[in-house]
């Protein structure tokens, strides 16, 4: 009886008793969710266009952030470093297409998945070799990112909104809007959608797969850079980020591998669910449930909707 009380009643009483804390938890969940969404977005872009489950997205985030910080540390002005990093991400996209994807055309999905594992190892080694393994501070001031926090008085208490978090949310919104316009309105965007629907049909109307793949990996690289800057500004830039990127996986299965809105909504659900679980139900189970709670939430959703919230309906034929 006591345990039921603790699970079903206690947390809600707490929520009611301290509404300001509730809002704070909600906000932190939202922000974490936005960052998960950004990583998931990179996955979705690549999966949609090439059917590759890109395990290397997490390390791409780290690599992009490291390149940016590393260039700045060598005396390159912040915004020039940003431009150069974008160029590096283009180079990465080009090399991945040329040396990994092209020779592996027509191979089963699992082989391509493995190849991105190889890529992950390669990038970890390269990143540590060039920039060193120690955590670095993101150059948020030089990039004109705000710092500090707003304290808002509400519900009989104070709720703190970090400015960097607000900036992250805004940038994420801009990026998603930009991607949506890019996908819907531009010539390349249409080609991308055609490739996503069917590689063969796209080829037959004269769309170059190779070119499209470079574009999507480049787009995923830019998303990775944005994620890296935001996440780096919140904590710092280190290889631990790569592990955090695994958190984007439940977001993906929740939202569906092929859906951009799914990545956003899934991210928010996972982020908020995780923070609530940790804050209100965590003490019951002992701390650290954050590490698996997200997966469990996603798993429960999956049992009801196997293709994710927004995934395309799975039609199976013999």
């Amino acid at each position: 009886m006591d345990i039921l009380y603790k699970i079903f009643l206690d947390p809600f009483v707490q929520m009611g008793a301290a509404p300001d804390l509730l809002v704070q938890t909600l906000w932190e969940g939202l922000v974490a969710g936005v960052l998960y969404s950004l990583i998931a977005l990179g996955f979705v872009l690549i999966f949609k266009a090439s059917g590759v489950f890109n395990f290397a997205q997490g390390i791409m985030v780290v690599f992009a952030a490291l390149t940016l910080v590393g260039l700045h540390a060598h005396g390159v002005p912040a915004f020039l470093a940003l431009a150069l990093t974008i160029a590096v991400m283009y180079g990465l996209a080009f090399s991945v297409e040329r040396f990994v994807l092209r020779p592996l055309i027509n191979q089963p999905d699992i082989i391509l998945f493995m190849a991105t594992f190889g890529l992950t190892y390669f990038l970890i080694g390269l990143g540590e070799l060039v920039f060193g393994g120690d955590p670095k501070v993101m150059i948020s001031d030089q990039l004109l990112l705000p710092r500090g926090a707003y304290e808002v008085k509400m519900l009989g208490g104070f709720v703190q909104f970090q400015k960097i978090d607000i900036a992250a949310a805004v940038i994420a919104a801009i990026m998603v809007a930009g991607l949506a316009i890019f996908f819907q309105k531009t010539r390349i965007g249409r080609a991308l959608r055609a490739v996503a629907d069917s590689h063969k049909a796209a080829l037959s109307v004269g769309i170059s797969l190779e070119y499209i793949w470079v574009i999507v990996w480049f787009a995923a690289g830019i998303v990775a850079l944005a994620t890296g800057i935001m996440w780096g500004a919140r904590s710092n830039v280190s290889f631990a980020l790569q592990i955090i990127a695994l958190k984007a996986l439940p977001v993906l299965i929740l939202g569906g591998f092929t859906s951009i809105p799914g990545a956003i909504v899934g991210g928010v659900i996972i982020g908020v669910g995780e923070k609530f679980g940790e804050f209100y139900w965590g003490p019951l189970l002992g701390s650290g449930i954050e590490s698996w709670l997200a997966y469990m939430i996603a798993l429960v959703f999956l049992l009801f909707r196997p293709q994710g919230l927004f995934g395309e309906r799975i039609i199976e034929r013999i």
Partner: protein, 358 residues
Amino acid sequence: MFYREAGQYKTNYIADQAVFPILQDRIGIIAILAIAYLVVPFAASNFTIDSVLVPLLVWSLATIGLNLLTGYTGLLSLGTGGFMGVGAFACYKLTLAFPDANIILLILCSGFFAAAIGAVFGLPSLRIKGFYLAVATLAAQFFLSWCFIRIPWLYDYNISASIEVPTRSVFGIPVTGPTASSGTRYIVVLSIVVLMTWIASNLVRGRFGRMWMAVRDMDIAAELIGIRLYQTKLLAFAVSSFYCGVAGAMMTFLWLGNAESESFSINTSFLVLFMVIIGGLGSLMGSFFGAALIYGLPIVLRFLPGVFGLSVHAATVEHVQFMIVGALIIVFLIAEPNGLARLWQIAKQKLRVWPFPY
């Protein structure tokens, strides 16, 4: 010339269904086993046994386990590390509960605990498949990892949150713990691996294996010809986890001598998946090759600079090693996506028709 089955007539079904139907293969396997049992324990140094041969066999068994699931049944799993951990911790609790029981039996029994947990976490496979399932099995991995840290009962309330392997003897010879000799442990590991590989090879050739492969090739079609998907998939999860659990128990008891949550982390899962894919999906032979390559590669790379007389900074070596392993995986996948098992088949075919090209 030497490797040719011409003239080997089979006159009964038993001969036709033998594990090794070709005489040369039989001679080969007997020779390998003879060397492994009679020569290696006396010829190899303790270092070679402890840090090369025993780990190799343990990883091979885990790889066979995952291969049964991923290679034969087509279900991608990233929870291998967790299932290995279940085996290890179950074995530890069993040795505490039954201090006088035969340790080899306990190691094998701990597989059943892993099998039960594996079947539970295999339940989502009834609804979801492909990469969705892979991510769902990550839930198992992270949840189990968390359990290994947060449930002190599992490691007997040890302050360091790790398990220390107690000394246990079989027929008066210490098999586990600090007093056991490398040779004894090697023989035990080898015997378990040989036995379980033999069982696996019969499983995959028999009814269950055929059911698994039908599910792998197309599950709806398999369902239409009367294979019960639920039971088949869950059985695959259970058997696979059994193998992984035994591998985990051996890893702790016969190789490392202690274990903590970190030994069974997500990286272990990835490592075993590497071995499966590099070795060849759906090949028991390939599991051994894959384990040898992935486990051996870093060792070779570590010693390589020394061989050429180069002195490189240790950290640099590690980073370059990461890069080389990553690049080699990609190169290897491009060169032979079907894994080392396929190369082995090609070699055998070449040998068969030698000296003619075909």
